[in-house]
Symmetry: C2
Subunit: 321 residues, 2 copies
């Protein structure tokens, strides 16, 4: 594959070959996945959400050793020791930050003062405006179909991206539902400058998720993911014994306290990282139903770009003369 995106804002801003950004995903996106995506020509992202500060530093250092290309980190703003992470970002001179899950007001300016380029993940046009007001350099518009934590308004990628494009000229990454060449072509059509890819890379060989997780994902079918625990913090989960327990609890209108107790602690680690089917929580996007192979990052992204070129030509043939 050899394509150049000379006028693409995302490629120019991040100095990368393809406007493909890997999503930060708890227990999936360590240095190995990030370095592989960056080496391919996309932008790898280390997900800080599931890491203790010193583990985070170790992953950044290993990623630097594994690639000479740009990479970034995903920083959930609700992280309890966030100032420790900021110190590490400064010391390790990471310059690309995608913030999520929290208010961008305080941390955008701090990160910008450190010389970082800052994108914020949003799930509605209302929050996109808040992020713009906070001074971000770009937005990740993440739809209802995405895996893991998600917005309360349940706005889909297809509605969200053009709605945000109407209010800003900033670079936008379309996130949630990107699994094939058509998705990528459509993302550009919706007004995005690039795509953020989660689940498709969560099942790659280089993802640090367990083999059990990857096999559950590629074996799943339509309707096997659902946005759950809306009374706490909405999260898209894959069917599992824990999923069934939550579904039952919600069907009987369990209280917030009961749901918190049921959720307990460290379920995502147990599920995604340790592959504990009985007790774990398995986060993944709606596209899980359409994934059917566990392959290398290089294989997955080459296939995606091949499909993309074919899909683009097919699209043009359907359009006006």
């Amino acid at each position: 594959m050899n394509m150049t995106f000379t006028n693409n804002k995302i490629c120019n801003l991040f100095d990368i070959q393809y406007p493909i950004i890997q999503a930060g995903m708890v227990w999936c996106s360590g240095w190995k996945l990030a370095a592989s995506v960056s080496n391919f020509g996309g932008l790898g992202i280390i997900g800080a959400g599931s890491m203790y500060p010193e583990v985070f530093r170790e992953h950044i250092q290993k990623c630097k050793a594994a690639t000479s290309k740009p990479f970034g980190v995903n920083l959930p703003l609700l992280y309890s020791d966030i100032d420790l992470l900021l110190d590490i970002i400064k010391e390790e001179e990471v310059k690309i930050i995608i913030t999520s899950a929290g208010n961008p007001k305080t941390y955008t300016s701090k990160l910008k003062e450190m010389g970082c380029t800052v994108f914020h993940v949003v799930a509605s046009r209302k929050f996109a405006q808040k992020a713009i007001d906070a001074g971000v350099d770009g937005l990740v518009a993440e739809g209802f179909e995405a895996g893991g934590h998600n917005g309360r308004e349940e706005i889909t990628t297809f509605c969200l991206v053009p709605a945000i494009r109407q209010i800003t000229d900033l670079p936008i990454l379309a996130a949630g539902g990107v699994f094939c060449g058509q998705s990528m072509v459509a993302a550009f059509g919706l007004g995005a400058d690039g795509v953020q890819i989660g689940s498709l890379l969560a099942v790659s060989k280089e993802s640090s998720a367990s083999k059990v997780y990857k096999e559950m994902v590629v074996g799943s079918k339509e309707g096997d993911t659902k946005l759950m625990l809306k009374a706490l913090h909405p999260v898209r989960l894959l069917r599992s014994p824990f999923f069934d327990a939550v579904e039952k609890a919600e069907a009987r209108a369990a209280t917030v306290e009961e749901l918190e107790h049921l959720l307990g602690r460290a379920r995502a680690k147990k599920g995604i990282f340790e592959g504990n089917v009985e007790e774990g929580e398995f986060e993944v996007g709606q596209i899980a139903a359409y994934l059917d192979e566990i392959e290398s990052v290089e294989f997955i992204l080459n296939k995606l770009l091949g499909e993309y070129q074919k899909a683009k030509n097919e699209m043009l043939s359907r359009m006006e003369d």
Copy 2:
């Protein structure tokens, strides 16, 4: 606006100028809306769902008088007197049928024997395969964001359209979430041959919905629609006193019987057609939040096509050299 879609399957199949199909929508899509869309160069659709058989016949006859261009009907297969509707379709020689809400197995062949072109509305790849097996001529792939009745799997337009494109070369219409030029460009990118447009035309001047309904829709904001009554038949509703009552009932895990009692009968007529805010049910898609004007069909579709051309050029500028 003057564009020709010489190689577009939908334009060729239906003999229309633009691959824009108006959705059949209860209490919105009578002869007036259908004829306006057809006269513009799209395909108008009379929605049979909210009509008694003789009313249905009257709308077909009035539509024929109001346009010399092709138009079709939407036929919900769960309609109780469906054989009466089939007789009318035969007698009035309507040749384009979009079937929905039911199993296409029996009626597809009956309609094909009458010389009709048959599209079926599907909300998952699994049901798309069933419709293909039943012999349909094309599919309407309708995502979670669409208004009114919807699929249980909650698959979004952005995921559904390419997933169905992977299994068939039949014409596909993308439905759910189409509200601007970007949506239409993206639909082609996803693998669709055209778009089905609902809510954007439900608030047109020619829609038979009440003024109250149209004003509620254009006045709504993000999060004001929700897929509800999943225990009965999932339906996307707009916030209203009835919406609040359903939300409360579902939060306390009301039984199916309680929900049926709460729903009662003729709520959609009361809301959409009569504009009874207190008692009515108001069906609309997630894009309601992004609509802000009540205009004529001609104005809406000219604006859409203008945006489409601009969005297409912007898309190409973001893509590879």
